[in-house]
């Protein structure tokens, strides 16, 4: 040994080799698990999606003292029952991948319910570190925990942390290192299930151990308990993957029936009761509570008394929603302006650098404006996520769900569906991402399908262009309201329909914890914003880029060699600018989009649309507000905007008010924009739902608009 460490005896170097440990973080929702994860891994995170579900699992690495911890932040779970996709993923990880060490993050103020999960981890034979998080909060509530006693009673390492202040992390890492060397927990040493139930469990466990080979893939006693709990996955596994498993299953089921009959109680109830019963002993020995829980009003119950008040609750909720949107859109406006300026400047720069020709057109008209049109919404999305993240993390969102669950449940949704739907009035993309707060796949999909019917802010320019063009002043406000209302009513009908067809099934439970109010740390909120925005930007850089290029090609090719307008007599009297816009109009009419528009004309004639409107709708596939610009171009008026009076005049001359209304109706319902399609594809992890949504809504829009137009014409309204 040539270095300075030669004094250390060789035994020590063997005892502490550079370790690579796989560590899984588990815990109840709201236990601060993710804060611990963020504090340990810093910026080394990556997010992985798992096939078939929309659950995200974050991975990260933590290097300390020559130890490399490969951390995975599993979704929050109360039990290893696998009720929701999150729980299934968490369980799958723990059972099949067998991390070296499991760190259970526990809300110290909520020890009893948290230890319920600990019991199950013990049965799994985990090497466990129990991390009592938010000890400060527990102390503030007068709850003292004898951690030494707890460690001794459970036979695991117990550490305390305050993740928001980064306290106790070193001790946690050290405990993980020690635990990796220790003996795994044994559930049967911690507690048992009483004579009859315990005998049944032990016997099944032994039968599993006795069947050769494959039973070893799962810890036998854990599998036995899960089987007796009625876990469908384990029952299937026993019958199909274990030789002779069918016989064992039948015998056990028979005995379960007998035992259940004697106790007049289900097996799962007996098991839960035994676990909680054993816990009660642990709790009395280790927890000292200065005031009996529930005696004194906590800050949380005081706030709840106001925000969940019978009369005040709803008004407060509505006021908060209005304030949220006001905040997002007033704060977002200047930022959006700045980004637009930036995109404009970039376009000018590229125009100056690149010689005129197809390349410049592709870069400027296709890519910069296409992708830019989506990036422009970034400030709104960031602000919206910030506001929602704050409400979610401080604990109000659960209360909001509580307040409106009855209404949402009637429609066939869940209390938690409300927030994504409300967000949908801002932008469908973050709204669809926000459906992740829903626990069950069916609720999530139903909500996702309804979101595009909430008139997003990109559709507002269409309404503000068309309403003044066609509707008399007195009726404008009513018409706008009507459009929004139609969207909401259609969403209700659609969800009801989905609930009896594709998404039929038992109503999903609303058994939900109402976490205590907490002040979110800035770090946590920033983390939220960063992750969501990064997702949005990545999408802008991939799918949206590709579609932008396709649409650019459709709008630009084939090119018209000679413009009719140049040969016409009027050309001489036109200004250069007028000439240019007239040429643009002709070029678009000649392009693939224009031809497609003409080809579509006969199909859309019953809706009151001519080829110009059809062409404009093709452009609107990219983003709804593009409709306005395209309408300007096809009507040879240059790129219009919501406030263009000239475009309004031309439109009013060309189309009857009924057709104007039909354009709005069609753009409300039909074909969610490409960003929405992309994000639904991502969130549902299949092409099935976005395609269904796209075609379904387009067909609905087509027939509904046709019905409105034809009825209107027949009755002589607005022609």
């Amino acid at each position: 040994m040539s270095d300075g460490t030669s004094m250390i005896p060789p035994a020590a170097t063997i005892a502490a080799p550079p370790q690579v440990l796989s560590v899984a973080l588990v815990g109840n929702p709201n236990s601060g698990k993710t804060s611990i994860f963020n504090a340990l891994t810093g910026s080394s995170q990556r997010v992985a999606n798992y096939p078939g579900v929309t659950v995200e699992v974050a991975h990260g690495v933590c290097r300390r003292d020559g130890c490399e911890l490969q951390l995975v932040d599993l979704p929050g779970t109360y039990s290893l029952t696998a009720n929701s996709p999150e729980e299934r993923i968490a369980r799958e990880w723990l059972v099949r991948r067998r991390p070296d060490v499991i760190v259970q993050v526990v809300d110290a103020a909520n020890l009893e319910r948290s230890l319920y999960l600990t019991m199950q981890l013990a049965e799994l034979g985990a090497r466990l570190v129990l991390d009592l998080n938010m000890m400060d909060e527990a102390a503030a509530r007068g709850i003292g925990i004898d951690t030494e006693k707890l460690a001794q009673r459970l036979g695991v390492e117990v550490v305390t942390t305050v993740a928001s202040r980064g306290e106790g992390l070193e001790a946690l890492v050290a405990a993980v290192g020690r635990t990796a060397q220790s003996r795994p927990m044994r559930g049967e040493e911690l507690f048992d299930y009483g004579s009859d139930l315990g005998r049944l469990i032990d016997k099944l466990a032994w039968r599993l151990r006795l069947t050769n080979g494959r039973a070893a893939a799962l810890p036998a006693r854990w599998a036995a308990i899960k089987f007796i709990e009625g876990d469908a996955e384990i029952q299937y596994w026993l019958r199909n993957a274990i030789p002779g498993g069918g016989g064992i299953a039948n015998k056990t089921l028979l005995e379960m029936e007998r035992l259940g009959g004697q106790n007049n109680q289900s097996m799962e109830a007996m098991i839960a009761e035994a676990r909680y019963g054993a816990l009660a002993g642990v709790i009395t020995e280790t927890v000292v509570s200065a005031t009996p829980v529930g005696q004194h009003p906590t800050p949380t119950s005081r706030i709840d008394a106001i925000v969940m008040h019978r009369w005040l609750g709803m008004p407060i909720f509505l006021a908060l929603m209005v304030a949220l949107f006001q905040f997002v859109f007033t704060m977002g406006e200047p930022l959006m302006g700045a980004i637009e300026l930036g995109i404009g400047a970039l376009a000018t720069l590229v125009t100056a650098l690149v010689p005129d020709g197809p390349l410049r057109s592709l870069l400027v008209d296709g890519i910069i404006h296409g992708v830019g049109g989506v990036i422009v919404f970034l400030p709104n999305i960031v602000l919206l996520f910030m506001a929602i993240g704050l409400l979610e993390r401080c604990g109000y969102m659960a209360r909001a769900a509580f307040l409106v669950d009855r209404l949402m449940h009637k429609i066939g949704l869940h209390g938690r569906s409300l927030m994504p739907l409300v967000t949908g009035f801002g932008c469908s993309v973050p709204a669809i991402m926000a459906t992740r707060t829903l626990e069950h796949e069916r609720d999530r999909l139903a909500t996702m399908m309804a979101i595009p019917l909430m008139s997003c802010s990109a559709r507002l320019p269409i309404y503000t262009l068309l309403i003044p063009a066609f509707i008399p002043l007195a009726w404008r406000g009513v018409t706008l309201f009507l459009i929004y209302l139609i969207g909401i009513l259609l969403a209700i009908v659609l969800v009801k329909l989905l609930r009896v067809t594709l998404l039929a099934g038992e109503p999903t439970p609303f058994v939900m914890e109402l976490p205590p109010y907490r002040l979110p740390t800035p770090r946590a909120v920033l983390m939220d914003i960063w992750q969501k925005s990064a997702l949005y930007l990545r999408k802008a850089g991939t799918i949206i880029l590709a579609i932008s290029i396709v649409l650019w090609v459709a709008n630009s090719y084939p090119q018209k060699p000679l413009f009719d307008v140049d040969a016409s007599a009027a050309a001489a009297s036109m200004s250069a600018e007028e000439l240019e816009t007239a040429r643009q109009g002709e070029a678009l009419a000649y392009s693939i989009s224009g031809r497609l528009g003409r080809a579509m004309e006969p199909v859309f004639a019953p809706l009151g649309f001519d080829w110009r409107i059809c062409t404009a709708f093709i452009g609107a596939l990219a983003a709804k507000e593009v409709l306005v610009a395209q309408l300007g171009i096809v009507n040879a008026l240059g790129e219009g905007d919501g406030g263009s009076p000239r475009l309004r005049r031309v439109l009013a001359e060309r189309y009857p008010p009924l057709a104007g209304f039909c354009i709005m109706l069609f753009s409300l319902i039909a074909a969610p924009c490409m960003a929405t399609v992309a994000v639904v594809r991502r969130e549902s992890n299949s092409w099935r739902w976005p395609l269904l949504q796209f075609t379904g809504l387009t067909l609905l829009a087509y027939f509904l608009t046709m019905a409105v137009y034809q009825t209107g014409r027949a009755l002589g309204w607005g022609i």
Partner: protein
Amino acid sequence: MSVQVNDHSAWRAFEESELTHSAAHYLTTIMHLRRKLGYARVTDLAEHLKVSRGAASRAATLLKERGWIEEDPNRMLLLTEDGRQLARGVERNYLIMECFLEDILSIPTEIAREDACKMEHLLSRQTSGALFRLIRVLTESPQMLEKIQARVAAFHPECPQNGNCAMCEHYEGCIAMETRPAELMEPAPAPVRAEEATPARTLADLAPGQRAVVRRVRGQGAIHRRLLDMGITRGTAVTLERIAPLRDPIKVKIRGYDLSLRRSEASLIEIDEKTG
């Protein structure tokens, strides 16, 4: 060199050096009590085994002499390492024996339990190890096991002595023909149902501020399990804290935290009203 069946010396040696039936029971009971309650006192032992306190105390003294248990300053009984190993060995023997009797020999559960209980402390490690291997080999292929079991069940001794072989003389009848006695196949006692004449009160019937104790969680499937996982089990105290402005869902306090649930879910939870 025939085996002397009536030679009791093996038994005597066994009694002296090894475990008696009752000692085995005491040891396993201490182990179970410690798992269940976290402690085991002589009183608990007596209560659990349904013997007098004096008898339990005498037995504990004997076990202490053997070095299988210790008493801590609070008079709590602890298993020594030797005692723990013995108790675990007995438990293992019991389960292996029961599996063997029931799964391989197809003995009815009741008899299998009883016999396993009688033999658990007598089996040597070698025997239970061999049994364990035998069960594994036999269960390796269910078809083979079924064949063997069918063969055993259908076995009919073609008895040349016609009921006069040495075995028959000795046991007053042909042991090979011994089958499951019908009276031991008694059906399970009919479940005792609580009188359901009056529909039980449920959590959905409470008014804000009222406290109650959970009696039972009805239903089945995912919602049932979810309610249990959240800590709603028999005997748990719940307080209904608040009803949503639209009258559904409700908010309850249970095990020190706030839980919301719909009325439809709350009506699955039967309660006994708490007085005072």
